[in-house]
Symmetry: none
Subunit: 130 residues, 4 copies
DNA sequence: GTGGTCTAGACCACG
DNA sequence: GTGGTCTAGACCACG
């Protein structure tokens, strides 16, 4: 899986990394139970500090995506059962703003639904489709 | 239009304000050509610093939603033709992440589409529907 | 409120700090809504790094004890409504072990209950008694 | 006696093992003078490293629960007279923190006492009741 | 002035 | 070899 950090983005590095990993989980590039690279390794590969990688891993752990221990390092969890209710709140607020923006910009409901479905399509075969 | 700032949110105040105004534009609470309250007035009403309000107004101006001049203050523009290309990038990246997250959490495409349409519905009558 | 860090303890500094603050909340030395010292200030006072203090504050925030923002710094929340169910699990496992140990050591139920009540007594007037 | 290690717990394995053995002693599953399984055997049964088992045994020895020699292996001691003063310190600090947390969370003294007694009850018949 | 991010590097605990 | 803790210090975002 290819991860690309934009160093001059206003989105923090740890957040960029988190988002790309979550997308990687959705589209099947990362499987349940799969072992993640070590914090040190990934930091080196991406050219970022290991503390920044750790922060991302810890957030993914808190959100239920990842488990970590000193024996096996970090890995994708088999089930994502943590923080669902927090997620519901988040998605509602994010989605409302996103749709408002799209509508104001003149995007028709039909077109947004199409865009929407094409993303869902691109994630076929990832987690959630078994 | 009622605006509600959560002071202990992790979303910056200027961003909360921006989002709510964009939602207000989408659902018709704010019309094209409508004059916005003065920076000083709005800051006072919301109990926030006027630098913060100015920041929001400037961002809305940069994004093409608002025009500002010394005489008339700020008002909603008649056309939103600025910053479209930035918007395209943003919506694509945000939407991809949002859908990835929803899918990983076990939300079915059908249910997300429904949630999605209900938001679109709630914006009936606002800008973009004329 | 006096906080004392043992630098050669096996309990991490951030955990020592957290525990003492939670005890301070229980016994009324820290009140709901009270402002905490800034991260920098407390780090200086205790002779520890500000990142260590930040870690404690962030944990207390995650556990629902503290809210933080850039305007007011950190403060004790008015209600502690986060993470209750996690706490239930934790207390059960900790309590079982603690009691097993006490019983093995020859401590009688009566004496442990007495110790127990004396702690509860010492927290009279703190949060939870209003 | 059944021991269950959670490999993705944040509590170290040697500590999980120690706690469960101490609980087993309290509830009578392990008796005074009883011989413990060999380090190698237990490690194999639990699927953990034998260094880890050795660490637990050594700690239990240091705390006065277990005696070890080359001939008889490890066994539960007849009297637990070592490390009492350490235990006193520990229980006081742990109990204070536990009760503070419970109180802050809104748990009433009555309910905590009830929980407390139910654990004591569940240990009826173990060591400390003869 | 407040907390947040990021880097850098040392040392430690676990297994 | 893995992640965890702690320190140190720079720069930034928010208000």
């Amino acid at each position: 899986m290819i991860i690309k950090i934009e160093f001059d983005s206003e989105i923090p590095i740890y957040e960029q990394l988190k988002r790309q990993m979550i997308i990687g989980i959705a589209n099947g590039e990362m499987k349940r139970g799969e072992r993640l690279p070590s914090i040190r390794q990934l930091g080196e590969d991406l050219g970022i500090n290991l503390h920044t990688v750790r922060k991302t891993y810890n957030i993914l752990k808190d959100e239920g995506y990842v488990s970590m221990d000193r024996r096996n390092g970090a890995e994708i969890r088999e089930v994502f059962d943590v923080g669902i209710e927090d997620f519901e709140k988040l998605i509602n607020s994010d989605l409302e703003y996103l749709i408002a923006n799209a509508k104001n910009r003149g995007m028709k409901e039909k077109d947004l639904l199409k865009l929407f479905s094409s993303y869902y399509e691109s994630f076929k075969g990832g987690i959630g489709d078994e």
